[in-house]
């Protein structure tokens, strides 16, 4: 752990001191490399996949929020998006399938000073880990959840998942999916999340701003990112490659801040409503615990370590 910390500290000062000398191609390192385990690159994501773009937005959002990166941890589950934790040069954890939020809960409660971020896919967070998701939102734990939604289980071969829109073809739905999909912002809001937003991988600047905002927001904040999956979702449905999906988002995404989350469900190849839907203030789990026990027990209550304001 100390080794990681010193490495990132060294890297932080590096690009500022070194001034570019001439216009050459491969001479400089990428400005985001201080946040990346670049020795693991190239990453496993397919050409024209959007998860790399989401990772870029997360790093920029982290920079923008000006949090101490020594106190930021990233937890991921399993899946294509589950690999993000492995590529980040932070204290990052790659956990078992669906159990990213329980792991993050432990981190957040064990050390309340940490900022715990969960970056995972739709299958990991809302199918296998669905129960953990709704209960973390109900308790209003101080977590930031970034859910990358590519409408299927991409790593295992494109099976239909809880977010696959009706009529879309998947490997386990060869004639089209006939299940009702989840409306993730509505699920998060009705479970008790205090910050709910949705963007696509194309709305990169807005996504960055929203991530920066969500990182500074106490409580359970949830960001859904619609992401192109070229190899499985787009290929099976004959939608072209990732660039064609990006063009589709450009034409069909409608920005509606504060929209009623009940009405933002996604239908197959129809318009996608994006924006910041919910932003309310509510005491977090730890604040609530301290307040409640102090009322009940008075001076007998000794908070663990320091009280959380």
């Amino acid at each position: 752990m100390t080794e990681v910390a010193t490495q990132s500290k060294k890297g932080e000062t590096k690009p500022k001191n070194e001034k570019p000398k001439a216009v050459l191609r491969d001479d400089y390192e990428h400005p985001m490399e201080i946040y990346l385990r670049i020795e693991r690159f190239p990453h496993i994501w397919c050409a024209t996949c959007g998860i790399g773009t989401v990772l870029t937005a997360f790093i920029s959002g982290l920079e923008k929020s000006k949090l101490d990166i020594e106190k930021v941890t990233v937890v991921s589950g399993i899946g294509c998006t589950g690999r993000t934790a492995g590529y980040l040069r932070l204290d990052s954890f790659h956990t078992t399938h669906g159990r990213a939020i329980p792991f993050a809960t432990g981190l957040a409660l064990g050390n309340p000073k940490l900022k715990v971020v969960v970056i995972s896919g739709d299958g990991d967070l809302t199918a296998i880990g669905g129960n953990h998701f709704i209960h973390a939102a109900r308790r209003n734990l101080d977590l930031t959840i970034i859910c990358v939604n590519n409408f299927n289980y991409a790593m295992t071969g494109g099976q239909a998942g809880p977010t696959t829109p009706m009529e879309a073809i998947a490997s386990t739905a060869p004639y089209g999916c006939y299940e009702y999909p989840f409306n993730l912002p509505f699920l998060a809001e009705s479970s008790g999340a205090v910050f709910v937003a949705r963007w696509t991988a194309l709305h990169i600047r807005r996504l960055t701003n929203t991530i920066a905002e969500a990182l500074l927001k106490p409580g359970f904040s949830f960001i859904e990112v619609i992401c192109p999956c070229a190899t499985l979702y787009a290929r099976r449905n004959r939608l072209g490659d990732g660039l064609d999906l990006m063009r589709f988002y450009h034409d069909n995404a409608i920005i509606k801040h504060g929209a009623n989350t009940r009405e933002v469900d996604i239908e197959y190849q129809k318009q996608i409503i994006v924006g910041k839907f919910v932003d309310i203030d509510k005491p977090t789990f730890l604040q609530q615990r301290d307040r409640f026990l102090k009322n009940k027990l008075g001076n007998q209550f000794i908070p663990y370590k320091e009280p959380v304001s």
Partner: protein, 103 residues
């Protein structure tokens, strides 16, 4: 650049310029950068990189305005902009405007 109305303070504003750096062998040829560059500075090359993908080339040298959209949208961390320091900073100093305007 086309304007429907020329801004009043056009002569006072320094348009920043960026140098684009491309790590050719990291590129997987998604062409997001080519598609979404607001100044159409990039174009996919006809050559192949080590992995067999077409990579972007800078076709309009000096037209980059350092907006860093290519850097943000690249999923492979293969392209980035660095503000070309010399002219913009010196110009800003000369005109007597405060340093914050250039940074």
């Amino acid at each position: 650049m086309k304007y429907w109305r020329v801004p009043f303070d056009r002569d006072k504003i320094d348009i920043p310029h960026g140098d684009i750096h491309i790590n050719i062998d990291r590129c997987k040829g998604c062409s997001f950068c080519e598609e979404y560059c607001p100044r159409d500075v990039l174009k996919m090359s006809t050559n192949y990189n080590k992995k067999g993908y077409h990579y972007p080339d800078v076709i309009k040298q000096g037209e980059c305005v350092n907006c860093c959209l290519c850097e943000m949208i690249c999923p492979e961390f293969a392209i980035f902009c660095i503000e070309s320091s010399k002219d913009t900073i010196q110009k800003g100093m000369k005109k007597g405007s405060n340093q914050e305007a250039t940074s």
